[in-house]
């Protein structure tokens, strides 16, 4: 038989056809020639003659290439040869990138999966790192030399305390700030700021009322922080000497509300009855001295009585101090921190002496003076969220890093499988002299290119996720705000995560290339075997690792979910539904003494008559309001065990408080209406108080004496109430005693009305508002919520963390299942011949399935063994967040393991089914 292929090949040699296309054309034209030849032979021609006639199909000259030349397929782009000897470094890099681009375009689904996995993994990591950094580590933005700032109050505390305190100070009073500002010589400057963020209703030049957030600050606030205005001017120490009604607005507020127009200067704003003038705009990016908050405006401290009425926090009457300010300073050059602290405390104590000196002596006086300042570095500013969110953010950072590892393992598996398909190609190139190092470099470039695309897409993912996370955090801290910023540290993290991911998922496939034995591979290929055992082993290792990493995420998610479940069903000691909490501001409305008591009586009476209201009462501290009150007491027959053992929390309540709330009485009775007018002062104690101070004794009839600096008031215990959780969901219930409002030495300036309803609270609330306004239309209602709304922020952080943990756990499980599916499918493809032979020799399909499933269990066992240890570590990490469930809870571990087993076996079932349905003949023929 003539060699038609050679005839055709010779005529095609001048064209640049792809090898595949050339092979096809040669085959097709050869068949045509062969058909022609056989036809001629069948027609009686002799072989040589038939050959001559057949070859006459080709005309002389280069007709075929000439007719082929205009076609697209005849012009292949210059080939890019991985492994070609290195010529120029940059040229090779460019070649590698072009090859990478072609490889990615040739496999769009693989590229899409890889980019998506990387974008999600790297983006999630970057978002959480950005938050973690912003909340826990970053310096105050836009502040001059923040590392030189110090705080003389506690950066982790936010709020205020009125009365007395001992030990290290959380906040300072206005007079204490003035004393330090004027006399603390170790500091070049000192300023003060309101420790909590206020929300005000304001009006600009007669526009509609709108809500803004803001803070009162001293005149030196901006100077100490070292900022210059964007436009206009900022406060100076002059603001401390006068009652100048000036205001400074933030840059973001200026852009958002005023469109960044310079005519904002000189505009007036009204808060309550005070009219202020905008004198300047703070610089871009400046948020003040508290991290995690973005106030809209700053007002001078001296405006406090006008904008936060109801109490004068600028002047204190002994023995009560209004502690509400954070105080910051800059040390003078060369002054060590310890020296500054000692000097500040000297000034502070001198002030205390002069404040308390006149009213106390001896032991009492020593107690009064037992207060001190701690001077701390304040580069990161004040922040209450730091402490609240520190553990959650760290946990999330770890979880999301684990997720990225799992995603990288999946990509590595995909690359390994793809590498197996390209192994013959690699083997041919190696045998033709390709440089192994170049091949590896080309693989690494490809991975870096893929990771780079994923990394760029990750920025968008990080932006979206950042917004979602900040909203979630704001559910438990309504003041929390943080804008998305790709600052140098976060960008570095993004870059590092991208490179690390690229290297992680390429290291195994690249290593496989180094181990490729060209000769052995080519022999293998001719036998029809695919891939290598080594490749399969690496894939299995990765899947076991993925399964191992998924278990701690699942266990963590399970523990956190159970915590939320337990928190939401925590036994409060009273029914947590159909309860309204309405807080009114009596002091601001001018109610004092007897007038106040009459008003409260009237309010409770009116509200009690509303249809749907079962009972009504009030309490000073309310329920989960965040407030607290405590007093020094002496308990009859109780000897204090130590210096601090004569304090107790207390609350000032109205009649039938306990029956309204639904707290049963253990002994005696609750406080009733006629306890107001009685000669004997009565009180009720809770179980914790009884246990602590009375132990086995019967408290009924015993006396508790409230010890004030200038008076002592004795109360007779008339009842012991069950413990009720009204202040926190976690920890033990504090000992507490309850006194009626009317009685002397008690105050109820902003009490919370407690209203127990028989129906849903929504409709009743409207009637309650109406009733309050009916009694006094000008009475300010500070807040009105149901018990559920009041409690929601308490569990918000736990809910957020649990939700995210569940999402991470599910994603990890899905990725591990995909990885397992891939590895098993690949293993089956590799062993098609073996399985086909088994089936052909009579193996039952069921046995094939169980063979595959046994292999899966092997992988799972390895994964679970490692995963168990990781799960233990994970549960210890979140230990302090758990509630009602132990870190090593066996049920959670069993459920997580069970879920992992179920998903893994489901993922294995499909490949197992496919293997059992192999047509042995087709499979073997294909080999």
């Amino acid at each position: 038989m003539p060699d038609w292929a050679r005839e055709v090949c010779t005529r095609l040699s001048s064209l640049r056809l792809s090898p595949t296309r050339e092979t096809e054309i040669v085959e097709e034209l050869s068949q045509h020639l062969d058909d022609r030849w056989r036809e001629l032979i069948a027609g009686g021609a002799l072989p040589d003659a038939a050959t001559q006639l057949t070859l006459a199909e080709f005309r002389d000259g280069d007709v075929l290439p000439r007719y082929m030349a205009p076609l697209r397929q005849a012009h292949l782009a210059p080939s890019i040869t991985p492994g070609a000897p290195a010529e120029r470094l940059l040229g090779d890099l460019w070649q590698d990138l072009r090859y990478a681009r072609r490889t990615m375009a040739a496999r769009p689904s693989f590229t899409a999966v890889a980019v998506l996995s990387l974008a999600l993994g790297i983006g999630a990591d970057t978002a959480i790192f950005g938050l973690w950094n912003g909340v826990l580590r970053a310096s105050l933005p836009a502040v001059r030399e923040p590392e030189q700032l110090v705080m003389l109050s506690n950066p982790d505390e936010r709020g205020s305390w009125t009365g007395r305190t001992q030990g290290p100070r959380s906040w300072l009073t206005y007079s204490e700030f003035e004393q330090l500002r004027d006399h603390a010589d170790s500091f070049s400057a000192i300023m003060a700021s309101q420790s909590s963020l206020s929300t005000w209703q304001v009006r600009f030049d007669g526009d509609a009322w709108e809500e803004v957030s803001g803070r009162l600050v001293s005149g030196g606030f901006f100077q100490v922080l070292g900022v210059d205005p964007a436009i206009g001017r900022l406060f100076t120490v002059a603001e401390d000497r006068t009652d100048a009604p000036d205001a400074v607005i933030s840059y973001t507020y200026w852009q958002r509300r005023f469109g960044g127009r310079p005519d904002v200067l000189g505009r007036t704003l009204t808060i309550r009855k005070a009219v202020l003038t905008i004198v300047g705009v703070a610089p871009r990016g400046f948020i003040g001295e508290t991290s995690g908050q973005q106030p809209d405006l700053w007002l001078p401290l001296r405006m406090q009585p006008s904008v936060i009425p109801g109490s004068d926090r600028l002047h204190d009457m002994p023995p009560e101090k209004a502690m509400w300010l954070h105080v910051f300073g800059r040390l003078k050059p060369g002054v060590p921190l310890a020296q500054a602290e000692a000097q500040a405390n000297a000034v502070f104590h001198a002030g205390l002496e002069s404040f308390y000196g006149a009213i106390a002596s001896g032991e009492r006086r020593r107690e009064f003076l037992d207060q001190r300042l701690q001077v701390r570095p304040a580069r990161r500013g004040a922040s209450a969220t730091r402490r609240e969110f520190a553990q959650s953010l760290t946990t999330l950072l770890v979880a999301v890093a684990v997720l990225l590892l799992i995603a990288c393992a999946n990509l590595a598996n995909l690359l390994l499988a793809r590498g197996a398909a390209r192994k013959p190609e690699m083997a041919v190139r190696l045998s033709l002299g390709a440089n192994r190092g170049r091949l590896i470099r080309q693989l690494v470039t490809e991975s870096l290119a893929l990771a780079a695309i994923g990394g760029v897409a990750a920025i968008a993912v990080a932006y979206v996720l950042h917004g979602a996370l900040v909203s979630m955090m704001a559910r438990s801290d309504s003041d929390f705000a943080m804008s998305f910023a790709l600052d140098p540290l976060v960008m570095t993290f993004l870059l590092a995560a991208t490179v690390a991911a690229a290297l992680l998922f390429v290291v195994l496939p690249a290593w496989q290339v180094t181990k490729t034995d060209a000769g052995a591979t080519l022999k293998e290929q001719s036998r029809g075997a695919i891939g290598s055992f080594g490749q399969l082993r690496s894939g299995r290792l990765l899947v076991s690792l993925q399964l191992a990493l998924s278990l701690p995420l699942l266990v963590g998610a399970g523990l956190l979910a159970r915590t939320v479940y337990n928190l939401q069903r925590a036994d409060l000691g009273f029914p947590a539904e159909r309860l309204l909490l309405v807080r009114v501001n009596l002091r601001e409305a001018g109610y004092e003494g007897a007038r106040r008591d009459r008003l409260l009586r009237e309010l409770v009476g009116e509200i009690g008559r509303i249809p749907g209201v079962q009972a009504a009462s009030f309490s000073q501290l309310g329920v989960f309001s965040g407030g607290e009150s405590s007093a020094t007491i002496e308990v009859e027959g109780y000897a204090p065990k130590g210096h601090d053992d004569h304090e107790s929390a207390l609350d000032v309540i109205g009649p039938r408080y306990f029956s309204t709330l639904g707290v049963p009485m253990r002994l005696g009775r609750e406080i009733l209406e006629n306890d107001r007018g009685n000669a004997t002062n009565v009180c009720v104690i809770n179980e914790a108080f009884a246990k602590r101070f009375f132990d086995q004794r019967n408290p009924i009839g015993m006396r508790i004496t409230l010890v004030n600096d200038d008076s002592r008031t004795s109360y007779q215990v008339v009842g012991v109430a069950n413990n009720a959780r009204t202040h926190s969901l976690r920890g033990d219930v504090e000992p507490r005693y309850f006194v009626p409002a009317k009685q002397p030495s008690s105050s109820a300036n902003s009490p919370t009305l407690l209203i127990r309803t028989t129906t849903e609270t929504g409709p009743v609330l409207a009637a309650v508002r109406k009733a309050i306004q009916g009694v006094d239309a000008a009475l300010p209602i500070i807040s009105a919520t149901s018990i559920e709304e009041q409690m929601a922020p308490l569990t918000a952080q736990d809910r957020t963390t649990a939700q995210l943990a569940v999402v991470f756990g599910c994603v990890a499980l899905t990725l591990a299942a995909i990885g397992l599916y891939g590895v098993l499918s690949y293993g089956i493809a590799r062993r098609t011949g073996e399985i086909a032979i088994r089936i052909a020799l009579g193996a039952q399909r069921g046995r094939v399935i169980s063979m595959i499933l046994r292999e899966t269990i092997g992988l799972l066992s390895a994964g679970l063994a490692l995963g168990g240890g990781l799960a233990y570590a994970a549960s210890r990490l979140i230990d302090s967040r758990l509630y009602g469930v132990a870190p090593q809870d066996p049920l959670t571990l069993a459920l997580a393991t069970g879920l992992l087993l179920l998903v893994a076996l489901s993922a294995a079932y499909l490949p197992a089914q496919r293997a059992s349905r192999l047509d042995p003949m087709a499979a073997l023929r294909h080999q």
Partner: protein, 117 residues
């Protein structure tokens, strides 16, 4: 039509009609290259013959335009062959070319008809 030197005619007419011939033969059913070239030769009574070195480039050109599509087909006990079938786009082009060719032939016929006195 014995005696007529059809080489020049062959070349020119083939240029214009080659695509029409191939598309209309494939319209009936899919065929492979050798079958196609034989069919053209047989049905034209030997008047139209394509050489291998121009026939297959023509097929590949039609394939690149998307008017026909080739696929390797393996039948039992036979070696695989590349069969071509006409696409939807190819059918549209065929219809157009048939109309054009018919109009052309009619026009030529009208011009060249024998005039009877």
């Amino acid at each position: 039509m014995a005696g007529i030197d059809t080489r020049a005619l062959d070349r020119e007419l083939k240029k214009g009609s080659a695509e029409l011939l191939i598309l209309s033969l494939l319209d009936a059913r899919p065929r492979h290259g050798y079958e196609l070239s034989k069919l053209i030769h047989t049905r034209s009574g030997g008047q139209l013959t394509f050489h291998i070195d121009s026939f297959y480039p023509l097929l590949y050109r039609l394939e690149e335009r998307g008017w026909i599509k080739g696929a390797w087909v393996e039948k039992p006990a036979e070696r695989r062959r590349r069969f071509y079938k006409v696409t939807a786009e190819g059918r549209r082009v065929l219809a157009q070319q048939r109309k054009t060719w018919a109009a052309f032939v009619e026009a030529v016929r009208r011009v060249t008809r024998v005039e009877h006195a």
